[in-house]
Amino acid sequence: MDVTFTIRRYQPEVRDDPYYEDFEFEAEPTDRVLDCLNHIKWQIDGTLAMRRSCQTGICGSDAMRINGQNRLACKTLLQDVGSEVTIEPLMGYAVIKDLVVDMDPFFDQFRRVKPFMMNEGSDPERERVQSQEERERFDDTTKCILCAACTTSCPVFWSDEDYVGPAAIVQAHRFIFDSRDDGTAERLRILDDAEGVWKCRTVFNCTKACPRDIEVTKAIAEVKQAAMWGRV
């Protein structure tokens, strides 16, 4: 099939303003958007800048706006988006070049919720036993790959870069509801803030954007309940 990719380019060393550039070529309906971008970069224009690593939907590097929706290029088939595809960088972060955005603020918010196991007291002598029900409690939020598709689809984040954002709350949820973790009170204290969970307006963009099908808005609501009543 003949396809046209319209890509939002930003090449600061060549020109100051961003612009859209069309690329026309042949591709299979079963090709992924990432295959097409690779084709453009390798065969048509080597200056195209983008991030991708594992190319199998695990590393979360190639989140971008595909026809206006945040998706992973490696998990999106051409037949699902049509022959005319518009590719743009994620919204809300400064664009460094073409599809590459500055992810530092994203990982600053990620670090803010202390996304690691916290242990108070002495180390146990054997592994921390957890029932299937206890593991199930936070199973959904363990699927996050930190691609930033949720945070950069959130209109609250677009208007307030200090908002901790759905991705960081998902990471906090993963530990808050983990029976083995001792940092729940501290994380809730961090998120019980004007720039924390209360900024969420339940828009559901994050849930729709998540390429891992995490129920992000539900996770945020559970953290709100925990912060409201002080129990999980």
């Binding site: 029900e133 206890e134 409690r137 209109p155 609250v156 208007s159 307030d160 029976s179 729940t184 009170a185 809730l188 204290r189 019980d192 803030d193 004007a194 924390g196 209360w198 900024k199 307006r201 709100k224 925990a226 912060a227 409201m228 002080g230 129990r231 999980v232």
Partner: protein, 130 residues
């Protein structure tokens, strides 16, 4: 599944506390308004009928203190819910701190005047049923 109590200390003063209770108020007032406003609408449109509403309708309605309490609740929840919604909209759409303070002050002032006028009328209205 058992519930775990979270260790104390997260009830701290500060912006998080206000935002937490503002969020909670929006939930409570939202549910309350759903009942209050819908019943108000049904009552005025079907029980009384829009063509029959006149000054005497208000006089008869407010001769019962329970109706005054009902209208007080409707005003308090609607005003609080609306003003808090406006506050969050201003927070998100007005970027300059100066303008933000100005617009918020104006909204609070208008809200206070509307509320004061409403409460004054509800509680001082004294016209005998003719």
């Amino acid at each position: 599944m058992s519930e775990r109590r979270v260790g104390g200390g997260h009830r701290r003063p500060g912006s998080g506390g206000f935002e937490r209770w503002a969020w909670f108020f929006m939930r409570i007032s939202g549910v309350a308004l759903l009942g209050l406003a819908v019943f108000h609408l049904l009552w005025m449109h079907f029980a009384i009928g829009v063509d029959n509403i006149d000054f005497q309708t208000v006089v008869r309605r407010w001769s019962n203190p329970l109706w005054r309490l009902y209208d007080f609740a409707l005003l308090a929840f609607a005003l609080g819910h609306g003003l808090n919604g406006l506050r969050t909209v201003i927070d998100e759409y007005v970027e300059s701190p100066g303008w933000k303070l100005g617009v918020k002050t104006a909204a609070a002032l208008i809200g206070f005047l509307v509320g004061a006028a409403g409460f004054y009328v509800i509680f001082t209205f004294d016209v005998p049923v003719s």
